[in-house]
């Protein structure tokens, strides 16, 4: 996807580089697990019934698709002067290319070790590719692919997400 000849050197230098290694701002907790299940009416007894969780998963776990939830920063925190953003590489690219709008088009998630209440996860972001300029029905901009890797406090891989984003400027179709 990447044709590095069309990329500014500052972007080219970021390809395949590990960025934003971070630790989650709070331990995985069941309140959010239940809120998430409630939002989609997920009655899987793994998340609601401790006896089932003990039998099947050796104790409570989080729904696997909640992976990114544990890394979204608080909307506000004491001493924070700028809003912290999830998937910062995505917002960096918007700024670098001066593309005011963006959407996510594709998302691949690979699930490894189960995430459990009390886990404190760490993450890192890796820019994999950036396209040449493209025009879609939304506008003109670029596609990019960002991987986010997640590990737990025992350094076990719990998942990898791969996002395809499209940063664009409206009205240039």
């Amino acid at each position: 996807m990447t044709d590095t000849s069309t990329l500014p050197p500052s972007v080219e230098a970021l390809i395949d580089q590990v960025q934003y290694e971070e630790t989650g701002e709070f331990p995985v907790e069941r309140g959010y697990i239940w809120t998430s299940c409630a939002s989609v009416e997920n009655g899987n007894p793994l998340f609601w019934d401790d006896a089932t969780a003990a039998e099947v998963t050796n104790g409570p776990i989080a729904p696997p698709t909640m992976l990114s939830v544990w890394f979204r920063p608080h909307h506000w925190a004491p001493g924070r002067t700028q809003q912290a953003l999830p998937l910062q590489v995505h917002f960096d690219l918007k700024e670098l290319f001066e593309l005011p709008e963006a959407i996510m088009s594709d998302n691949t998630i690979v699930f490894h070790e189960p995430v459990r209440p009390g886990d404190v996860l760490r993450t890192r972001q890796i820019l994999r590719s950036v396209s040449e300029p493209k025009t879609t029905k939304l506008g003109t901009g670029r596609f990019w692919v960002i991987d986010v890797e997640y590990v737990n406090q025992r350094d076990e891989l719990v998942g990898v997400e791969s996002y395809t984003g499209f940063g664009y400027r409206r009205g240039e179709v």
Binding site: S39, P45, T65, S68, R72, M104, S105, N107, F111
Partner: protein, 157 residues
């Protein structure tokens, strides 16, 4: 407790359809549950006048949660997601009735003996495809097998 095993699944099997009437609450609760405070998921004016969309719309992590719920409704709690890929072709708005419909594409045992079903799920509104999702979900190969017990090199998602 629903206990689906791999030997009862065949390519071409159709999963029960899920229909759900999406409201503004669905969208906002989904964003809240995934800690997503971006305004296009709760602020009508921003969504319409800044993003150029019809209304606020379901966010990506909440769509993933809907797909997970749909798949494990079918598999039961022993079903363990290994991989999920989805492409969003259009947005889901309040007032839409979203329909999730899945078909088993492929069934296999991997080299570790883990049983897998690959399921294609289509999320449509008024027969218009909004998101397609391909999921690989591990299922017990028989009574006594538990995909969740797999760790390390015995888990190849």
């Amino acid at each position: 407790m629903n206990l689906l095993t791999l030997d009862s699944v065949r390519p071409g099997d159709v999963l029960p359809v899920l229909r759900y009437d999406v409201t503004a609450t669905t969208v906002v609760l989904g964003a809240l549950a995934s800690r997503d405070t971006r305004p296009m998921h709760h602020d009508y004016d921003f969504a319409v006048n800044r993003n150029g969309t019809r209304d606020i719309f379901l966010n990506t992590p909440n769509q993933a949660a809907w797909f997970e719920r749909y798949l494990t409704d079918w598999s039961g709690p022993y079903g363990r997601l290994g991989r999920m890929k989805f492409r969003m072709l259009g947005s889901v708005f309040p007032g839409d009735t979203m329909v999730l419909a899945g078909t088993v594409e492929h069934v296999e045992d991997d080299t570790t003996g883990c049983g897998w079903a690959t399921v294609l799920v289509r999320l449509t509104v008024d027969d218009d495809l909004k998101t397609d999702c391909t999921a690989r979900i591990a299922l017990p190969v028989g009574a006594g097998d538990n995909p969740w017990a797999r760790r390390g090199d015995q888990w190849v998602p």
